[in-house]
């Protein structure tokens, strides 16, 4: 059953249309950065010619003098942000994840992570769900890229509300942060009352003596919950939302996997180096367990609707259900 402490929206198992609210996580970023900007005048936002679609526009309207248009130049954007953070501003720099941190990885490594300045990399349109744009724009390696970097906090919010909270929290970390957001409208599972703390994973669903742990990140957390619900009378599961992939909440995760037969990770990212990799690294050392990885299986995507792509690449609810069942046989 849903964990009452998570204070999730009450209608999250209703059909998507007419039931649970839908909003893209980038909207949560737009709201959050505006909130952060109101709370702290050091907050500035940089955009690489994608001001409307990254929702940086909302900040720009309110704080035109703290908004900086960088043009199509992500390497310069990252390093200008590094300089501004070095000075003492709190720069959120925004583009599509395929370009930032895709194109400017070394600049982020040297001038932000090693330099250890408080700049926030905001990668939008992550995952296959960017859809028709095709493989070039479907960023599926960003978590791996950023997770490998010392000093970097890595956050992948599950919905627009969590994205808002994460953005507000990112403004107060004092260290480098990467956040990824999606383009598509996805279910808003969490509520204003849902606890959120960077580095603290949330148990969203817990059955009696769970047999399988489903550990998910990003909007696919909703799929994980739908799978748990569908399996409710058949296999007891526990679902954990790992919004902060680094630093990983080892305590919550190790508690959640106590006594299970297997662990399934779910993410809209390559199965190498992302959430699944992080969990495998932890469990291999602290509690080795059989694992399965739902995500992109070491391949690039293609054009299509988000639903078509998610199903085609085996990342949908039915895939999660099938994998969970394989452990309970």
């Amino acid at each position: 059953m849903l964990n009452p402490d998570a204070k999730l929206a009450t209608n999250i198992f209703d059909p998507p249309v007419g039931g649970v609210d839908l909003a893209p996580t980038r909207d949560g970023f737009g709201k959050g950065v505006l909130e952060a900007g109101k709370a702290d005048e050091r907050v500035v936002v940089l955009s690489a010619d994608l001001t409307e679609s990254t929702r940086a526009e909302w900040f720009q309207k309110e704080f035109p003098h703290r908004f900086i248009e960088m043009g199509v130049a992500e390497q310069n954007m990252a390093t200008v942000a590094a300089g501004m953070a070095n000075y003492g501003k709190i720069p959120f720099f925004t583009s599509y994840a395929a370009f930032s941190p895709g194109r400017n990885w070394e600049q982020i490594r040297t001038t932000i992570a090693l330099n250890n300045v408080h700049a926030i990399v905001c990668g939008m349109h992550a995952g296959v769900s960017v859809g028709p744009d095709g493989a070039t724009h479907q960023m599926l390696e960003d978590i791996a890229l950023m997770r490998a970097m010392p000093n970097m906090i890595v956050i992948s919010p599950c919905d627009a509300e969590e994205a808002r909270k994460a953005t507000v929290a990112a403004a107060t970390q004092g260290s480098p942060v990467y956040m990824r957001f999606g383009r598509e409208k996805t279910p808003v599972m969490t509520s204003a009352e849902t606890p959120f703390e960077i580095g603290r994973a949330n148990v969203l669903w817990k059955g009696q003596a769970p047999k399988v742990a489903i550990i998910a990140t990003g909007p696919f957390v909703h799929n994980a919950l739908l799978a748990a619900k569908q399996l409710e009378s058949e296999i007891s599961t526990i679902v954990v939302n790992v919004h902060t992939i680094k630093p990983l909440d080892e305590t919550t995760i190790l508690d959640a996997v106590q006594g299970v037969l297997g662990v399934v990770t779910v993410e809209e990212h390559q199965v190498h180096g992302g959430l699944g990799g992080a969990i495998a690294e932890l469990l291999a050392q602290k509690n080795p367990l059989p694992m399965s990885f739902i995500g992109m299986q070491d391949q690039f995507g293609q054009s299509g609707t988000p639903t078509e792509l998610i199903e085609h690449y085996g990342m949908g609810v039915s895939s999660i259900v099938a994998v969970v069942r394989s452990y309970a046989r």
């Binding site: 390497q75 390093t79 590094a82 001038t111």
Partner: protein, 285 residues
């Protein structure tokens, strides 16, 4: 106010001691870059002993001028100039590139107070300096931001992005300094990947451009002063330098870009520096 002859002579003499320290630290390290640091010794001496508003005893002083070093590999010249200026004991220079040293092979902000930014991978210093200058101007700060760059790193696209940004935003509190020594690891810049006409390129990006003899300290200082008077644009000083300046055997030779002298070579080179090429006798002879 122009430098007096005495001041000029004093700065040039100091630059020679900075060069000697560079050679000593490179020999002790057993690796590192020789040509660039020697070539920029006059300019870094001018910066630390005349141009910069700074306080070696208080490296975090909020009103200090900021000096970004984009081509981090010439950091021995910065370390040597900083040590002579009083940031840390000159003996510490001999820890360059050693385990546990604050003097990393390429400079790191968090390791050594007074190093404004971590650098080494080429082409990203001007962006950082531009971001810093932009942020400082937002808050009406009066200090200046300087960014020393190599010529070869202008082959990196990131620099041109930064040039566009600084030109667009008229960052007049920013002065770029280019070590135009015409060499890079694989050979001469103009045969590896031509940069000319560099002056016109900067001008077309809306920069004010000055060209100086990088070994003429009064000329360089005058250019820094002129840059302060330009209110509409960022300024770049293209400093024509001789790589390896001060040691005849190294001068102009690109093969000295990335290697240190041996102990024997260093003895010979130090003698050359201390005798001003045999013009005076050295107490070390």
């Amino acid at each position: 106010m122009p430098l007096s002859d005495g001041e000029t002579r004093e700065l040039h003499e100091r630059a020679q001691t900075v060069r000697a320290t560079i050679l000593e630290m490179l020999v002790a390290a057993g690796s590192g870059h020789t040509a660039g640091p020697l070539g920029m010794a006059d300019i870094f001496t001018a910066l630390y002993f005349h141009v910069l508003t700074h306080d070696p005893k208080n490296p975090a002083w909020a009103e200090r001028d900021r000096l970004f070093l984009s081509n981090g590999h010439i950091t021995p010249v910065r370390y040597a100039a900083m040590a002579h200026a009083g940031y840390f004991p000159i003996e510490e220079c001999l820890t360059l590139r050693k385990f546990g040293s604050r003097l990393q092979g390429h400079p790191e902000r968090e390791k050594l107070p007074g190093v404004e930014s971590t650098s080494g991978p080429l082409g990203s210093g001007l962006s950082q300096a531009s971001g810093y200058a932009y942020a400082a101007r937002m808050d009406g700060k009066k200090f200046r931001v300087y960014c020393a760059m190599s010529d070869g790193e202008h082959q990196e696209g990131n620099i041109w992005e930064a040039m566009m940004f600084a030109g667009k935003n008229r960052l007049s509190n920013l002065t770029g300094i280019i070590d135009r020594n015409n060499i890079q690891i694989d050979g001469m810049t103009e045969s590896i990947m031509p940069l000319e006409p560099l002056r016109e390129k900067y001008e077309s990006f809306n920069w004010h451009v000055l060209e100086v003899d990088g070994h003429n300290i009064p000329q360089f200082i005058a250019a820094c002063e002129e840059a302060k008077a330009i209110y509409e644009k960022p300024t770049v000083i293209i400093a024509h330098t001789i790589p390896g300046k001060g040691v005849k055997e190294i001068e102009f030779d690109y093969r000295w870009h990335g290697k240190p002298p041996s102990k024997e070579e260093a003895v010979k080179f130090l003698n050359e520096l201390r005798t001003l090429g045999g013009k005076v006798s050295s107490e070390h002879q």
